[in-house]
């Protein structure tokens, strides 16, 4: 009973934080309400007996990632966003509702056909949580672990490249700077259609 109440508290606060993060026009509030979501998700992990993941969640998400967000806000100093409705918001809302319905429906209807996996409560109690994760990570999941590191490497290179290392502007005469004329040509084509 207590666990259930706690679950609803953590779950509700996580969702509320996410909603505020999306809807508030002030980016600092948005970042801080994201912090609320992260911490409450860590609470749900604790309820699931996954203390290690809960700790990682707080250190990595609430600690590192959120601090990065706040740094970006500080360096960028973006203006407050104006809220507006996209012209296709009705379609978006409809599709969102359908997806939400499907998720809830599936959540209630999903039969778990399988038996449990190897990580039973007894097993975890015997060798400890962190060790169980470590064992799994460096034996069965060594390949995904290594590939994930490559993905992060590529993401890092990508961020550096797109942030603009060493791409020179096209020079004036001689270089191809006819962006506007290209656009005009495109408009003409669109007009023809």
């Amino acid at each position: 009973m207590t666990a259930q109440l706690l679950f609803f508290y953590f779950g509700g606060m996580a969702v509320a934080g996410a909603v505020v993060a999306v809807f508030t026009p002030n980016l600092v509030y948005s970042a801080l309400s994201l912090l609320m979501t992260f911490i409450h998700i860590a609470g749900i992990y604790i309820l699931l007996n996954a203390e290690f993941i809960a700790a990682v969640q707080i250190i990595v998400y609430a600690g590192a990632i959120l601090v990065t967000y706040v740094f970006v806000l500080m360096l960028f100093n973006p203006e407050q966003e104006k809220r507006y409705f996209h012209k296709q918001y009705k379609i978006g809302a409809f599709l969102g509702a359908v997806v939400l319905f499907l998720m809830v429906f599936a959540g209630f209807k999903t039969e778990i056909l399988s038996k449990g996996g190897p990580f039973t409560v007894e097993y975890v109690e015997e060798i400890g949580h962190t060790r169980a994760i470590g064992n799994a990570l460096f034996t069965d999941f060594i390949f995904p672990f290594e590939i994930a590191s490559f993905i992060l490497l590529v993401a890092m290179f990508g961020a550096i490249i797109l942030a603009g290392r060493g791409i020179k502007k096209p020079k004036g005469p001689g270089g191809r700077v006819d962006l506007s004329s290209r656009r005009k040509a495109k408009e003409a084509i669109v007009g023809e259609r």
Binding site: E111, S114, G116, F143, P144, I167, G174, R176
Partner: protein, 483 residues
């Protein structure tokens, strides 16, 4: 307590490991190489691809499953690995001059292509939902950056952002499908999923249906099947042309390679009743792709719609769910890759300092001033339509044949009608090349590497049409694993 030993056989990922070493070395070397000598890095990555390719050939015939069932090395995987290495080598050959003209000659360009290739090469050998998803992400992540590589060109940025958003969205859908599959079966290993479903006699549980729908939607985005194709034309138009070629050849082939494994192994496609969904998507994809291609004026958009149509043809093999259908997909993909890359090479050829060269009108009179180019384009066009003697004809022959053998007569008929429609827009370009007066001031940016790429693609497109036996044999060998 005894230490637990991981199940690792490095031989199974040997070609990728070599490529990864080359890619990392390339990023280290990059700062020491002057801006106008970056093509050296291109040659360096070509060397990496060659070494990796040779090691792949030595592995042919082996059958290994390692990394706790995450990765399998079999003929099927090796078939695709060889294909991806060839695609990547051709892309680098056609990029070397182009990225100089577009002033994006950074060393990272080649490094990202290598990383994308590594992701692609892992995809056909992934036998676990987790390893397949991460390989897919490695490929996609590199391609997102490559698509937006022309940072000063608004269209490239637009394409990159669009590709990123749709890509992330579709990855999310795939992941959601994976979650359902895992929830239903309790394992992510494809073989174990199939075994579990067979053991328990599960054919249509709700979780399974959800997983199938979500996975087919996610893959639909990746292979740009209708109605998930909207991103393709914009991204293809905006990206640097070699990257467009990479997207349409490499990423599509990779998505198909992994689709076959997931749908055949895990879902037991041949026994289920999944085909009506795929049938509708395939027919829509072929028809819409070909019809919209008719009105395009931009060559890259035209090829984008043509590649959408080709995804529709390829799905025929998946629907028939037979040995010959799977082999047909492999055969068709080989032909498709070379003819598409060839067609993109011609666009790259037209790109010069004062012209972007991606409009159909830029092709005016090209065959008059340069008859050889006209001839080469006719080869590609014939192959893209599926007229003998070309690689595209052999592929289509096998695909439609598999449809007829499987009793899908309407599918074959619609496919053939679509091929007839496609004749119009490919030959419109040929007509422009032969009948119209040449444009004044068209400069062709020939370079030795580009000539090599054009030669290889044209030769293989023609050669595989005249003598397809080796490819057919290799494809049939490869799909033995699905028996």
């Amino acid at each position: 307590m005894t230490p637990i030993m991981p199940d690792i056989q490095l031989i199974a990922i040997f070609p990728e490991s070599i490529l990864a070493i080359f890619a990392c070395a390339l990023f280290v070397m990059d700062p020491f190489i002057a801006r106008d000598k970056k093509e050296q890095l291109g040659y360096f990555s070509l060397a990496g691809l060659c070494v990796s390719g040779v090691s792949t050939l030595f592995l042919w015939g082996k059958s290994i499953s390692t990394f706790s069932g995450m990765i399998a090395l079999d003929n099927y995987a090796l078939f695709f690995k060889t294909l991806f290495l060839m695609i990547s080598a051709l892309i680098i050959l056609m990029s070397i001059r182009y990225i100089k003209i577009e002033r994006i000659n950074l060393g990272e360009y080649y490094g990202l292509i290598l990383f994308a290739t590594i992701g692609m090469m892992f995809m056909p050998s992934a036998t676990d939902l987790l390893s397949f998803y991460l390989s897919l992400e490695l490929m996609s992540m590199s391609l997102y950056v490559l698509a937006a590589f022309m940072r000063k060109d608004p269209k490239s940025i637009e394409g990159g952002i669009k590709y990123f958003l749709t890509g992330v969205f579709s990855s999310g859908l795939i992941l959601y499908g994976v979650a359902f599959l895992f929830g239903a079966t309790g394992t992510t290993n494809l073989g174990e999923i199939a075994a579990f479903l067979q053991e328990n006699g599960v054919t249509s549980s709700l979780s399974l249906i959800m997983a199938f729908v979500l996975l087919i939607t996610g893959f639909g985005f990746k292979i740009s099947a209708v109605p998930f194709h909207m991103w393709a034309p914009d991204v293809y138009e905006g990206s640097p042309t070699p990257v467009t070629a990479f997207l349409s050849a490499g990423s599509k082939a990779a998505a198909f390679s992994v689709m076959l494994r997931v749908f055949i192994n895990a879902f037991a496609l041949s026994s289920g009743n999944w085909w009506p969904v795929l049938w509708v998507i395939a027919v829509l994809t072929m028809t819409l792709g070909n019809l919209v291609a008719l009105v395009q004026t931009n060559m890259k958009r035209l090829l984008a719609y043509s590649s959408i149509a080709h995804a529709g043809y390829l799905m025929i093999g998946l629907i028939t769910a037979s040995q010959i259908g799977y082999a047909a997909i492999l055969i068709y993909l080989v032909g498709y890759v070379f003819m598409t890359l060839g067609a993109f090479t011609l666009i790259i050829l037209l790109c010069s300092a004062n012209m972007k060269g991606d409009q159909i009108s830029d092709f005016k009179g090209l065959a008059r001033t340069n008859p050889m180019l006209g001839l080469v384009f006719i080869i590609f066009a014939l192959s893209l339509i599926g007229i003998p003697p070309s690689a595209g004809f052999v592929g289509k022959l096998y695909l439609f044949n598999s449809a007829i053998q499987g009793g899908f007569y309407w599918l074959a008929i619609i496919g053939i009608l679509n091929s007839v429609v496609s004749l119009y827009y490919y030959f419109r370009v040929v007509q422009v090349m032969y009948m119209d007066e040449p444009n004044a001031g068209t400069v062709l940016s020939f370079s030795p590497t580009l000539k090599v790429a054009l030669g290889i693609t044209a030769f293989l497109t023609l050669f595989l049409g005249l003598y397809p036996e080796p490819i057919i044999k290799a494809a049939i060998d490869s799909v033995q694993i699905f028996l």
